[in-house]
Amino acid sequence: MNHDFPFFGKFPLSDYIDDGLDWLTDTFSGLTRAISNVLGDGVDGVVMLLSFPPPWLVILVFAGIAWLAAGRRVAIGTAAGLLFLWNLQLWQATIETLTLVLFATAVAVAIALPIGILGGLSERFHRATMPVLDFMQTMPAFVYLIPAIPFFGLGQVSAMFATVIFSMPPAIRLTILGIRQVPRELVEAADAFGASRRQKLFKVQLPLAVPTIMAGINQTIMLALSMVVIAAMIGAGGLGGEVWRAIQRLQPGNGFEAGIAIVILAMILDRVTQRIGRKRGS
C-alpha cells in the first residue's frame, strides 16, 4: 500500500534540521571542540584523582561526606554500597560514571538555576520556557546523541551534553516552582521593610525555595544516571559501558552486575541529596 501524502511531497523537516545543524557545527565547531577539550580534561582529571588513592580511602571520604550531609545511616549505607561495588570489580567504572554524572549535574544546575530564578520571578519568561522544557523532556534521549557527536566528537563530552539537556528540565521546573511557591505575604513583608529585589531574592525567596530546588537537583541527578547506559553507546564508558558490553556479548550475569551497580549508585546519590534538601528545609 502507498502511504505517501497525496497532495504534495514530504515536508523536508529532516533536511532543514540537518542543514541547521551543519551550519551550527561549521560555525561553532571551534568553540565546541574547545569546550569539549576543557570538559574532557576536567572529567579525566577527576577520574584520575579518584582512581589514584586506594579505593578504601575514597570510600571513607565519600562515607564521611554522606555523614555530614545526611547522617549516620546514609553514611553506613554509602560505605556498604561502595565496598560491594569494589568487590564486584566495578570500582573504576563506578568512578567514571560518578564523575560523569556529577559533572553533568553541575553543568545542568549551573544553567538551570539562573533560568529557573528568572522564570520564578517573571511570569512572561516562565511562559516562554515551558514549551522548551516540555520539548527537552519528551524528546527521546537518544536523539540528543546524534547532534552531540559532530559538536563534541565521540566520548564523554558528547555523553555529558546529551545528559545535561535531558536532565536539566526538572531542576529548572522546580526552581521556578520553589520561587513561585514562596507565600506572597512573605514577599510583601520583605517589600514593606524596603528590601531591594536582590535582597528579596537572596534573603527570602531563594532560602525558602531551597527544599524545592534540592528536590529538582535530586531528580536531575537521577535522570543523569538513567542516561549512563544510553551515553555508553557513544563511548562514555563507565558502568553504562559495562552494561553495553554485556548486551553485545550476551552475558546476562555481567549485565545485571553492572545494572545493580547503577542502582546502588542511584540510591546513594538519591538519599544524600534528598536529606540535604530536607535538612535545609526544616
Binding site: E185, E188, A189, A190, A192, F193, G194, A195, L208
Partner: protein, 453 residues
C-alpha cells in the same frame, strides 16, 4: 529605644467599661488643637485604587458617583478604595474600621505603596510619595515605615531573632548591632528567651508579637498595623492594647491601626475612620462616632458591635468548677452531678484539656453494671468555641444543644462553659454588667486551670 514592661499584666484587664473609653485617657486628646496646627505626618488626598486594567472606566464611573457593586458589574473592575482623604497627625493613632472587604488593607498598603494607588496623593511629612522612584521608595520604607501583618508573615527559615532583625539587616546594619537591637525589641514584647526558636515553634499570639517586635526594631516614625492583634487571646490582646497606648505615650509613633473590633477601636483610636465599600463614611473621635453616627451604616455598625459582636464567649462564660476526670469512677461522677443538679458533666484530663462529657443517666446504668471507670461512657459530640468567638455564633450553637458549649483555649484546655441563660443574661444586661461577668469568668478560668492541673 525606650524599653518598658510591654507585657506587664494590667491590674484588672476586664474592668473596662464604655465610660472609660469615652473619657480621654491619654494626654493626646487634650492636645488636639496644638497638633492640628502642625504639618500632618500622613496626608491622604483623594486616594483611589482600582484593581484591574485599564482603570480609567472605573474612575469615570466613580466620579459620576456610582458605587463599587455597579462599577464591578459594568466594567469588571474592582474599586479597592474610592476617593479617600484624611490626615494623620504626628503621634496620633488612627483606627480604620469597616466590614470585611471594605478596603482597609488596600488603604494601608497604599500608604507605603505596597499597592500602587491609581489616583490621588499620599503625603508623608509633606512629601508626595506617589511619584517616588523605586530607589527613593525603598529608602522611604526603610527610614519611616514599620508594618505588622494580619497573618504575621514571619519568615519560617529565620529564627525569631533573625526575623526581628530583618528590617535592620535590610538597612545594612552590622550583625552584632542589629541583633542587640532586635533582642531589645523582643524584650519589649515579652519574648526574651525565644530568640533562637523558629516561628513554627511559637503560638499564634507569640508570632503576632514577633511581628510587632520586627516592626518596632527599626524604630519607625510610622507604624502600619493591619489587624495586628486579631490573633491574640482576649487577655493578651487587652494587655497589648494597653501597652501600645503606654508605648505611644513615651515614643509617640504615628500609628494607622486596622481592626474589625469596635471595642479595640474605641480603646486605641484617637480618631476612627469608618469605611464602607471603599469609601470613607465617617471620620471622628470615638465619642463623635458613638454619639452622632453619620449614617445608618455607622449606627448599625455601632449597634451590632455593641451586642453580639463585642460580647465574646470568653466574656460571658461561666466557671467550670465541677468536672470529672477520666480516671473517676461512675459513683464519683454521679455524686458531683447530683450535688450541682447537673444532667451532664464535662470530663477533663489532668492537664486541663477537654476529653468529653458524661450523662447522669449513663452513670446510673454504669453503677448498676458494676463499671469501675467512666471511660467507656464518655461522649464526645460536645461543641467547643474559642474565648474570642462572638456571641452571635453561640446563639446558633446553643439553639439545639442539650449540653453547655465548652470554651477552650488553643491547647484544648477547658476555660469555662456557656448555657443559653448566660447568653440571654449578657445580651439583656448592659456593658458594665458584661465587664463584671467577664472579670468573674477570668478569675474563674484561672481557678479552673489550677483545679485541673
Amino acid at each position: 529605644m525606650d524599653r518598658g514592661p510591654w507585657i506587664k499584666r494590667s491590674p484588672a484587664p476586664f474592668l473596662f467599661t464604655r465610660r472609660q473609653t469615652l473619657t480621654p485617657t491619654r494626654p493626646f486628646r487634650g492636645e488636639d488643637r496644638t497638633v492640628a496646627l502642625q504639618q500632618p505626618k500622613i496626608a491622604v488626598k483623594n486616594l483611589t485604587k482600582v484593581f484591574g486594567d485599564p482603570p480609567a472606566p472605573a474612575l469615570k464611573l466613580m466620579e459620576e458617583g456610582h458605587d463599587r457593586k455597579e462599577i464591578q458589574q459594568r466594567t469588571g473592575l474592582t474599586l479597592g478604595i474610592a476617593d479617600v482623604s484624611f490626615d494623620v497627625a504626628q503621634g496620633e493613632i488612627l483606627v480604620v474600621m469597616g466590614l470585611s472587604g471594605c478596603g482597609k488593607s488596600t488603604l494601608i498598603r497604599c500608604l507605603n505603596r505596597l499597592i500602587e494607588p491609581t489616583a490621588g496623593q499620599v503625603l508623608i511629612d509633606g512629601e508626595d510619595i506617589t511619584g517616588l522612584s523605586n530607589k527613593d521608595l525603598l529608602a522611604l520604607r526603610r527610614r519611616k515605615f514599620g508594618m505588622v501583618f494580619q497573618n504575621f508573615a514571619l519568615f519560617p527559615h529565620r529564627t525569631i531573632l533573625q526575623n526581628t532583625a530583618f528590617g535592620l539587616e535590610i538597612c545594612g546594619m552590622g550583625q552584632d548591632e542589629r541583633e542587640q537591637r532586635a533582642a531589645q525589641a523582643l524584650q519589649l514584647v515579652g519574648l526574651e528567651g525565644w530568640e533562637q526558636a523558629f516561628p513554627s515553634q511559637l503560638s499564634g499570639g507569640m508570632q503576632q508579637r514577633v511581628g510587632l517586635a520586627r516592626a518596632l526594631a527599626v524604630d519607625p516614625d510610622i507604624l502600619l498595623m493591619d489587624e495586628a492583634f486579631s490573633a491574640l487571646d482576649p487577655l493578651i490582646r487587652r494587655d497589648m492594647q494597653q501597652e501600645l497606648i503606654n508605648l505611644q505615650a513615651r515614643v509617640k509613633k504615628t500609628i494607622v491601626f486596622i481592626t474589625h473590633d469596635l471595642d479595640e477601636a474605641l480603646r486605641l483610636g484617637d480618631r476612627i475612620v469608618l469605611m464602607k465599600d471603599g469609601r470613607v463614611v465617617q471620620i471622628g473621635t470615638p465619642e463623635e462616632i458613638l454619639s452622632s453616627p453619620a449614617s445608618r451604616y455607622v449606627e448599625r455598625f455601632v449597634e451590632d458591635v455593641d451586642k453580639t459582636q463585642i460580647l465574646t464567649a470568653g466574656g460571658i462564660m461561666r466557671d467550670a468548677r465541677v468536672l470529672a476526670l477520666p480516671s473517676d469512677g461512675p459513683r464519683t461522677a454521679l455524686h458531683k452531678m447530683e450535688k450541682e443538679s447537673f444532667y451532664s458533666l464535662f470530663v477533663v484530663r489532668r492537664d486541663g484539656t477537654l476529653e468529653g462529657y458524661v450523662w447522669a443517666d449513663d452513670m446510673g446504668r454504669a453503677i448498676e453494671q458494676g463499671d469501675r471507670q467512666i471511660g467507656p461512657h464518655i461522649q464526645r459530640d460536645h461543641q467547643t468555641v474559642a474565648p474570642d468567638e462572638p456571641v452571635s455564633t453561640l446563639i446558633a450553637m446553643l439553639a439545639d444543644s442539650r449540653i453547655p458549649v465548652a470554651v477552650v483555649d488553643e491547647a484544648g484546655r477547658l476555660l469555662g462553659t456557656i448555657v443559653k441563660s448566660n447568653v440571654l443574661a449578657a445580651l439583656a444586661a448592659g456593658q458594665s454588667d458584661q465587664a463584671v461577668t467577664a472579670a468573674d469568668a477570668a478569675t474563674a478560668a484561672d481557678k479552673t486551670s489550677e483545679a485541673c492541673s
